[in-house]
Symmetry: C2
Subunit: 476 residues, 2 copies
């Protein structure tokens, strides 16, 4: 039987805290291949809930699920040069089968733009065939040098949407509206507030005309890119010769976009809400929403009876787990907390006498005595409150962590203090590289709407006049 | 716009019929990698419904979903020799990343027994940790020489369940009950009747003590293995050193099983129910259950109004698609039929006048005039009838295609005529190989219960006394 281990406090060592909570919370195990992880039932359950709920949003947008092959023939990936260059160093390559060398190499997909392009080429003849709106939920591989569970692993799970359109405007509109779907979903379900905006040229997707992003702020102040939507324009359609007959009967290259979220979101969730007792899972996405703990059931057989009755009743409306084991009350509580269950119900001998239970919120740790008669109503209300509290707390933290700077010295200090810097910036791509080398901070986005009022009119780095407001932060 | 092409009749050329219907029915496209296919929205939708409903059955059995990595380090796969030998020739092997040779080779999983074994080793200490019941829905690769869409592709999608137990009896029980879950699911949802039984030693899974199977019969008489459940015993736990402290505080090797169904089931579904007009999807698993076709809506604007009203009403309870295009009625009907939608509703100008619609069953092609007032009730009833009709028709075909033989000549004739032969058989593994070479037929299973009464007491091949009843057939 597993013992709960001590969790390093967040303030002491955030990175150590992170690995402590994911291991103790039974979220993952390391895989046999270096840099890979195993998604255990709790983390996979969260991902499955993300998939299930996000799919509903996709359906509202008429996006259909498909499945394309894992392997990309070398010849196919070479067709779009920027795209290839961006991914080449990370490509896991199949060169043999059963010990025999293959005549062509195959790459394990790091993303599937070229595979979709190859499919679209055969599906599109006229404007009547457009738009095509596809999505797939799959595994992808990128052979990263440094890895971190959920945040950056060699293999990860994601969804990748790929669409084709008869005109640029429609494609651009969808690029924006899919980012908005992500923003709304991540905020409403994962209770993670995000900043949305454009990536700079330097940070955009290899092969895109522009990339939109949602950026989340972890409890240590670092940023985490949490979803991206790319306007690919005609880059892939020209490389692959994907044309259609438009309404004037002229051949035209189609317009494409792609968009994705991944299991990085699990890392975002853990580092946005977790505390020194473990992770905290927002109720709307929690595989288990309520833990029912029998307390000292060996001293009063009514305890088990009442617990079972509550379990059966609540199971009809919520996802509930019942702990009838003979472990000590303190262990049971800690066990529920470390696994991030948003609400727990404790039932002991005294409670059955008084026809009540004790409810404990995972977010505030507040204890609430609740009569059995109003339990269902109270549970429903509390789950909504917990969801809101998690979101609002994170939102406060995000908004309070922005700072405007007017020169590079201020910039360096702010980044050193874990702030997100926001300021006019006119630097080149080379400047971005240099700033990152010197401070560890990268451009996160050019926000659609600045979260604070910007006073300065000049670039903090070059001193040039500028109204291009950019957000910088250290990032995962 | 795609034109519907002529479908080769089943009787003329079954294999050609199969590729005709899957292409015309928009089920798949060929992938860029030879032997791989793209699952288009309709086929992926069926698979998604299989996953969704099967997952409910798994949950009832306390089986939890996880996700393990795609790649198997060479050293790991070498631990169980029988298993390795069975899969070795088909292993796609990653040897380099970004053009640089790796120090160890990695195999793309053909199945994940060794990865699960590696995980279980770390999760199990005492009998209190058992049973562990895991499952994953993933892609796997087996570099097959001959491929056939859905039936045998280099990459396919499947679920693989892997469990660990403290005693052999519990593990064996679950091996049988998971096969039963498959049997019930495939019969109830896919309307495919199956024969269940044991695989012979020769046909069992590499690394198993015994393998149970469900076998379905395609319209051309060939068998298709549709789901398997393997009792692995201590084979993998001994190879990997997976032990637990039993109740007497002694170290003991754990007992394992594994079980799986795959996207082959899509092939089974197509070849069990399809006819010369296209595929037929059983209502319980159909992504679209009802097509509503507007007929000559340009001649009467009420047609569109009524169709939309019906669409909105039926959408609340069924999965419905509305065809408001201006295509010809005959095209619309053929289009619905080729995509296998179980029921279609036709609404034309005459119908709106009479407050009625025409219902057309995809299975029997029967046309039913139905007053608008009783439409919902009738649709519900018909969908159940179609599901039952498909199952019973296939069941009749299965039962009528068995034949008992008493000698090898009779055997060869029966196989030649597409029959499933059932007879006592005491042949060796070598005999099985020889029979397959000579007739194309392999042992499908030793049925739990013979579908017909067997009179002979002697092996048809060796003449030896035998009560081991074996089923042979040509198979996909």
């Amino acid at each position: 039987m597993k013992q709960l281990e001590k969790i390093t406090p967040q303030k002491e060592d955030f990175a150590k805290w992170y690995t402590d909570v994911i291991k103790n919370g039974d979220l993952m195990a390391y895989g046999a291949t270096k840099g890979s992880i195993i998604f255990k039932p709790l983390s996979f359950g969260i991902w499955d809930n993300i998939r299930y709920n996000m799919d509903k949003e996709f359906k509202k947008n008429n996006i259909k699920n498909v499945y394309l092959p894992l392997l990309i023939p070398e010849s196919l990936l070479q067709k779009e040069k920027d795209h290839l260059a961006g991914f080449n160093p990370e490509l896991a390559t199949v060169t043999e089968v059963g010990g025999k060398k293959l005549s062509e190499k195959y790459f394990i997909r790091p993303t599937s733009e070229v595979l979709f392009a190859d499919l679209f080429k055969n599906e599109i003849e006229s404007h009547n065939d457009l738009p095509i709106l596809y999505n797939q939920w799959v595994n992808v591989l990128r052979w990263e040098k440094t890895t971190n569970p959920f945040l950056r692993t060699r293999e990860f799970l994601w969804q990748e949407g790929h669409t084709m359109h008869a005109n640029s405007l429609e494609a651009k509109d969808l690029t924006y509206s899919m980012l908005n779907v992500y923003k709304n979903f991540v905020e409403a379900y994962l209770a993670i507030p995000v900043l949305s905006g454009n990536k700079t040229e330097h940070e955009k997707f290899s092969g895109a005309d522009f990339t939109l992003t949602i950026e989340a702020m972890m409890k240590d102040g670092k940023a985490l890119q949490s979803g991206t939507s790319h306007y690919l324009g005609q880059n892939f359609t020209k490389a692959f010769g994907i044309t259609f007959k438009n309404k004037n009967n002229e051949e035209e290259f189609a317009y494409g976009i792609s968009f994705g979220i991944s299991t990085r979101l699990l890392g975002a969730l853990i580092m946005t809400h977790g505390d020194d007792r473990g992770i905290i899972i927002p109720p709307k996405i929690a595989p288990i929403q309520i833990d029912i703990l029998e307390i000292l059931a060996n001293k009063d057989k009514h305890v088990h009876e009442v617990a079972l009755e509550i379990f059966n009743k609540l199971s009809k409306k919520f996802s509930v787990s019942l702990d009838s084991s003979e472990k000590m009350p303190g262990f049971k509580a800690a066990n529920s907390e470390i696994h991030g269950t948003p609400l727990r119900i404790e039932i002991g001998p005294k409670d059955t006498l008084k026809q009540q239970v004790i409810l404990v919120r995972r977010d505030t740790l507040e204890k609430i005595i609740c009569p059995l008669s109003s339990l269902e109503k109270t549970v429903k209300k509390l789950l909504i409150e917990i969801q809101n509290y998690l979101y609002l707390t994170a939102k406060d933290r995000l908004l309070n962590n922005f700072i405007e700077v007017t020169n590079y010295e201020e910039f360096k200090n702010a980044i050193q203090n874990g702030k997100w810097v926001i300021a006019p910036f006119e630097g080149t791509e080379e400047d971005e590289v240099k700033i990152k080398e010197e401070t560890g901070a990268s451009t996160r986005c050019i926000p659609f709407k600045s979260p604070i009022t910007i006073k300065s009119k000049n670039c903090f780095y070059t001193g040039k006049k500028s109204n291009r407001i950019v957000v910088f932060a250290r990032a995962y």
